[in-house]
Symmetry: C2
Subunit: 194 residues, 2 copies
């Protein structure tokens, strides 16, 4: 994910091997650190030390820690969103939900780091931002529930249930988890009956 274009630098200039190595080293250094501690208390020094890269070099590529996290997560978030959207266009939401859970489970090492550390809040915000963009046009819930609240609820419930899943000691299998996600995060939005 994101081997290229970390810092497009305006004009399309290629990334030398050296830059690529530095780039990859920083990305690969963050992941294990996210498994160890919360994102907020990871220092740039730790990242650069683990990456085997000079401290100042970090700021030549990223303006701050958050940019590195975004670079690491952006593509994965987009993927997850792409798998989330079909849920709201199908009569039977079960299949889509199960596909979503299967995807997360397949990439659970990455998602565990992204969701169970202190990075979760940042991740959720970015996810929410993208989701709200496509919500107005694509998603239509019943009038009793404002669309923006519906999106917020779904994303929040999804992130919460998934992070519970990924940090659980004896996690339910994909099918069972999909059922839970469906009932907690999806169905409530589509059950308008009073």
């Amino acid at each position: 994910m994101t081997q290229t274009d970390a810092k497009p630098a305006a004009s399309g200039r290629r990334e030398s091997r050296k830059m690529s190595r530095t780039h990859a080293a920083l990305l690969e250094a963050l992941l294990p650190l996210l498994e160890e501690k919360a994102f907020e208390q990871i220092t740039v020094r730790e990242i650069t030390a683990r990456a085997g890269v000079g401290y100042a070099t970090f700021f030549r590529r990223y303006p701050d820690k958050e940019a590195l996290l975004h670079d690491l997560a952006a593509q994965e978030i987009q993927n997850l969103l792409t798998m989330t959207l079909p849920i709201f266009h199908t009569a039977d939401t079960t299949a889509s939900t199960e596909a979503l859970c299967a995807y997360v489970w397949k990439h659970r090492k990455l998602w565990r780091a992204l969701l169970t550390g202190g990075a979760a809040a940042t991740l959720k915000e970015e996810y929410l931002r993208l989701a709200l963009l496509v919500a107005e046009e694509q998603m239509d819930t019943d009038a009793w529930l404002p669309v923006d609240l519906a999106v917020r609820f779904c994303v929040t419930a999804l992130v919460e249930t998934l992070s519970w899943w990924l940090k659980h000691d004896a996690p339910p299998d994909v099918h069972v988890m999909a059922g839970i996600v469906n009932r907690l995060a999806v169905q409530p939005v589509f059950l308008p009956a009073d």
Copy 2:
């Protein structure tokens, strides 16, 4: 809330008038700051400046910012939890949910500051901590949903919907909001039918 026992200091020693004034000044200084910006980017210097209190004096009472926030919010969180619990012991959850929303609306100035700033995460954690303590004994959901996940979901959904409510420009009235909260945060846990 919490005029007394901010720092029990082991042996029960009374709090002089001077201490009380300092104590109250700090608590009352945090609230307006929370309405202005996220908790993380509020500095101790700002708090003490607004409280009209020396910088070092802050650390004589609280070990850090978080302790002050906790002191400010602890009682309110307990109150909210007390109003939340009945929801899970009644057949008709509507009445309890409505009482909860009415309470939050009545204290909306405080809760808006607590939930819509960067303090929300800390608040939610504390709320969750207390809720999990009483969950095992009091709350019983259907077997398909692990109790700890049920509690996490409810608290998360509750905090999310309430903070949406409090930061909304034209917020729904208490009755309508109670209906939304009921459907999004409460019912999903109690609708076991497949």
